[in-house]
Subunit: 620 residues, 2 copies
């Protein structure tokens, strides 16, 4: 991987920072956040502004350019990747390390007095704007909104915003009609005396209307905004898309069942002026809900007295708790996904000794097997297929120039997933096709112990996911090891593979308590830079459980693994496992064999079935 | 325990809320926080305003009185106690339960439009003022500072503010002179370009000047403020105290070694006007440090542009990391404390069968044994001596009307500690002097497993204490049990038994990372309302440790128990322990026997020594 050459781009950007065509007064620094106008984690090519300016293409990172310097902040998953993709005009700011300054502190330390720092108000979230603005102001600087995006100004061949065909999801997949979702939302609005809600997160809009798109690779969403009132619904979306009769019928555009469930559509871009119009008509006590992660631009349209910012919208919370249809869909999707992976691993075992399988071809093969499964739509994120040292790059994606051949001598890590009409998958397995070293086995076993500790944890109703994070690390910590990423994220149902508001992390973000029906990943790891990477990831469903006692009638929860793919026994040092942990592995493998075995049998996939049976032998 | 009758007091207070003698416009609600002007947790009798108005005398709780209602918020430790101490004019607000509204939400739900809510700006912390004010303002109400405290106005026999004699701590106890502490503080101020620091926390002032007092029971502090600049030091304290020649010499009041280390003393009450004078002379760029937990009154003296609020002052952080002299002192204090407790338990074993020992007499006996130890100053908090159902009241304190007799049939819980010149102790043991039930043993063993899980945890440098909290709960959770309090708090060295900025709690307060030299408690519990209480508490020192590996050279930490008092073997169901846990118990008891045994021998306390030897037999 060679870094992007950015000398000329930085020169042009710095020129734009002084150009009165874009700004009234020159700015001394320009912030380029990672997201789009919806604060999406994965973004469309037209929104990859931070990658365009610095070369780093990971899913999280913020670039800041001053007159003299350029720096980019990202987290532990991306330290190695970012250092390889950026040239020496850039300073990599490793977030989470003690010595790394925050963006605010760094700006304050490098800026001359009374500086102006610019940012596009559409791509900075309102809460980030607030914090940044406060810090800069208290140091005598100011944060200014630059309406013309300066990256777009210098980006000559910037791609167009996509507008893909929409898919309608019937009750069979969604479990709840969009009309019922609207009514549920309005009940919550009425409870809190809220007149309107502005919906800016793309997955919330997709979930609310039971629609899917493919505007953003891997995430089945589409560019839109929605504003829902107690008696009206406005959907802001490219009007061409609304010409599709299936969509018109699904949304009852021509023939609404009830007036208060009639959707008015309007162009995507008109959300700003429409929201202004709505706000102009607000009564003195009326309140508007908007996520504090919505864009600063849109948030500021709502007068402060009417604004009711929330860390998570009620849609985000409702979406996180899957309904029975969604849970069943997720289970089915994971069985199909396991079939594809059993096929892959059986195939790899046969092919690797020939020396012809590479990271890329293995990833392609995984996609091929997945695409043979019913209701397959696409991948849920770029497959991380990594051999040996590449495995230590936490969010590695194989490229022709980094592509390694799978062999009998190195650890192979594959983190992959798919979108099916009935659910989204995300699974990581780490395997050795020859003989793993004692150290590799030792590390793998600590990771497995951490994975089991979370998966088997019993905890009271109302527990936040971050309280479970240390369970995943205890075995690694005891040997002086650790991993620099969180342990789990929420997973959507035929939606984004990363979704809020729950998760399992040492970072105590304001996660919402776990409740039955939520779905998260459980993915501890260990990464030995320059040598190998280990991660073990299942998607797990939060389920009620009944331990011996029930303190204060709070009830207890635990996890049920949805992912049903064998964990390679060869990588386990069973001496390091307790009897309880051995029992967990055996019970998990029994379930894999029973459930996925039946499906492999049904699909007549004999080789994969043989592989599955061999890989799920009980351990002593 | 019978509740305090508050009808007449509430009537008088509501009258004061409308009385133009105290307020310019009538207020619709009045907030009575728990603390004093220094936001102390333990307070002097003259500051027990919340107790005066509602009867509840726990260490945490806020009362709010409106024209029609009166409500009091406290946490899980005090639910039972508060419900017993308050009459039915009061609503108990159980913090931490989902259905309990926050103070802000409750006020907004009960107040008429455009209400004024009053509070004494000296006893509300700046950060609390800010949050409360923001919430009220956004709902159309306002928070107003009422300079005359309305409780004081109706409190006819309010005690005077204490002004006890000061004790000077030499290097032998403090390890570092106050001059060196000032220089260390100024280094930190220079690093952050800070001109002044306002010190309001009583333990920070006591620590900084190596002085102790006894103005507040159990906490060896004295009423004072300090303001430290780069070349001047001001100490605001009752001038009578400065007449003591020992104090004058210690502070070099008459003969300072260097002008910049010369202390100017001024009356306690003059801090407000002196701070005003200092702020009037500030240069445009000068900044003043003040804790965001300092009083709103004093904080607002500093113009916003000059104010640099911090969650923890550098003194708080410096105080938390004990120096070698302090660590040695804490160890010595804990050995002496263990001697006293061994004496107590040997005595209890002999006396309980006679049926004459009560909760109060046992507590008195504990104090008597402690007072025989060298450098004993007093208790570090009111002894919790509780039998059977009283043990389930987490912060129980035996009173004549609740006093139970210790017997062979009920669990006995004693949580006690002392102030010695060389250190502060805090230890809880739960014992049964007859035959515990299987359920009592089962619960005790889960609590022990949690205690060991924290105490033996190995974790990377930089880990915050709250990440360890779930370790203490895992065994309880697995059986559907839990406890509604944090797992540990910082402990001062001959200072407050509760101190920041570190701790171990499920509440993710902004705790600072644990580092070697910090001292915290490890005290999981289980409480069966109406039946028994179990808690197992050691004070533990954070120490470096060297596990097998050292990931990214971060280094690892673990805990070393300072408390060395046997854990009653009779209460343990050893079948529920892993081999590792059994080894931990045996190694802990070996250390108790070796270290405390030697001191018992030296002091010629034969009976207690026999008891210790018997109680520290290894378990299989």
């Amino acid at each position: 991987m060679s870094p992007k050459i950015t000398v000329e781009l930085l020169r042009q950007l710095r020129q734009a920072m002084r150009n009165s065509k874009y700004i009234t007064e020159p700015i001394h620094a320009y912030i380029v956040p990672s997201g789009d106008a919806h604060q999406s984690e994965y973004i469309a090519p037209c929104d990859c502004r931070r990658e365009f300016i610095c070369g780093f293409n990971g899913s999280a990172g913020t670039a800041i350019i001053t007159e003299q310097q350029a720096a980019m902040w990202t987290d532990g998953r991306y330290f190695l990747q970012a250092s390889q993709q950026m040239d020496n005009n850039w300073t990599l700011m490793k977030m989470g390390l003690k010595e790394t300054p925050s963006q605010e502190d760094w700006l304050i330390s490098v800026l001359p007095e009374n500086s102006k720092v610019g940012v596009d108000p559409w791509i900075i979230a309102a809460d980030q704007w607030k914090n940044m603005s406060k810090a800069l102001t208290s140091a005598g600087h100011s944060l200014v909104a630059v309406r013309d995006n300066l990256i777009d100004a210098i980006w000559v061949d910037r791609p167009a915003r996509p507008s893909t065909q929409l898919i309608t999801l019937g009750l069979k997949y969604a479990g709840l009609s969009w009309q019922d979702k609207i009514l549920g939302l309005r009940t919550k609005m009425a409870e809190r005396k809220i007149s309107w809600i502005v919906v800016t997160a793309l997955d919330e809009i997709a979930w609310l209307f039971n629609l899917r798109g493919s505007d953003i690779e891997y995430n089945p969403v589409f560019f839109a905004y929605a504003i829902v009132g107690m008696s009206s619904i406005r959907l802001f979306v490219d009007s061409k898309r609304m010409a599709d009769p299936a969509v018109r019928e699904h949304l009852e555009l021509d023939n609404p069942s009830k007036p208060e469930l009639s959707i008015q559509t309007a162009p995507y871009e008109s959300v700003y002026t429409e929201l202004q119009a709505i706000c102009a008509g607000l009564g003195p006590k009326e309140k508007v809900w908007i996520s504090d992660k919505a864009s600063c631009a849109l948030t500021q349209v709502i007068p402060k007295a009417h604004r009711s910012p929330v860390p998570y919208t009620p849609l985000c919370l409702a979406k996180a708790v899957k309904n029975p249809t969604e849970i069943q869909g997720m289970k089915t999707a994971h069985i199909k996904d396991a079939v594809a992976l059993c096929e892959l691993f059986a195939w790899l075992e046969k092919e690797i000794p020939k020396g012809t399988v590479t990271e890329i071809s293995a990833a392609d093969k995984a996609e091929e097997f997945r695409s043979q499964q019913k209701d397959f739509v696409g991948l849920s994120f770029p497959t991380i297929s990594s051999v040996g040292p590449n495995g230590a790059i936490i969010h590695y994606r194989p490229l022709p120039e980094t592509n390694r051949t799978l062999s009998l001598n190195e650890v192979y890590l594959i983190d992959s997933g798919a979108q099916y009409m009935d659910g989204t998958t995300d699974v990581t397995r780490t395997m050795h096709f020859g003989t793993p070293s004692d150290f590799e086995k030792e590390c793998f076993t600590y990771v497995l112990k951490g994975h089991i500790a979370v998966s088997a944890a019993v905890f009271p109703n109302g527990t936040k996911g971050h309280l479970l994070d240390s369970f995943a690390r205890a075995a690694l910590w005891e040997s002086g090891l650790d991993y620099l990423h969180g342990t789990g994220h929420g997973v959507g149902c035929f939606l984004n593979v990363h979704e809020g508001p729950c998760g399992i992390s040492y970072k105590t973000f304001a996660d919402e308590p776990l409740e039955a029906g939520m779905i998260v990943s459980d993915e501890p790891g260990y990464y030995e830079d320059g040598s190998f990477g280990i991660r073990l990831e299942n998607v797990v469903l939060v389920v009620p459980t009944k331990p011996k006692y029930n303190y204060r009638n709070r009830g207890s929860l635990t996890f049920e693994p949805l992912t049903l793919v064998p964990i390679q026994l060869k990588m386990i040092n069973t001496d390091l496992l307790t009897q309880k942990e051995r029992d967990w592995v055996n019970e998990y493998h029994r379930k894999c064999r029973e459930t996925v075995g039946a499906e492999l049998e049904r699909q007549g996939r004999k080789e994969a079935l043989d592989w599955l049976i061999r890989e799920t032998q009980p351990i002593a």
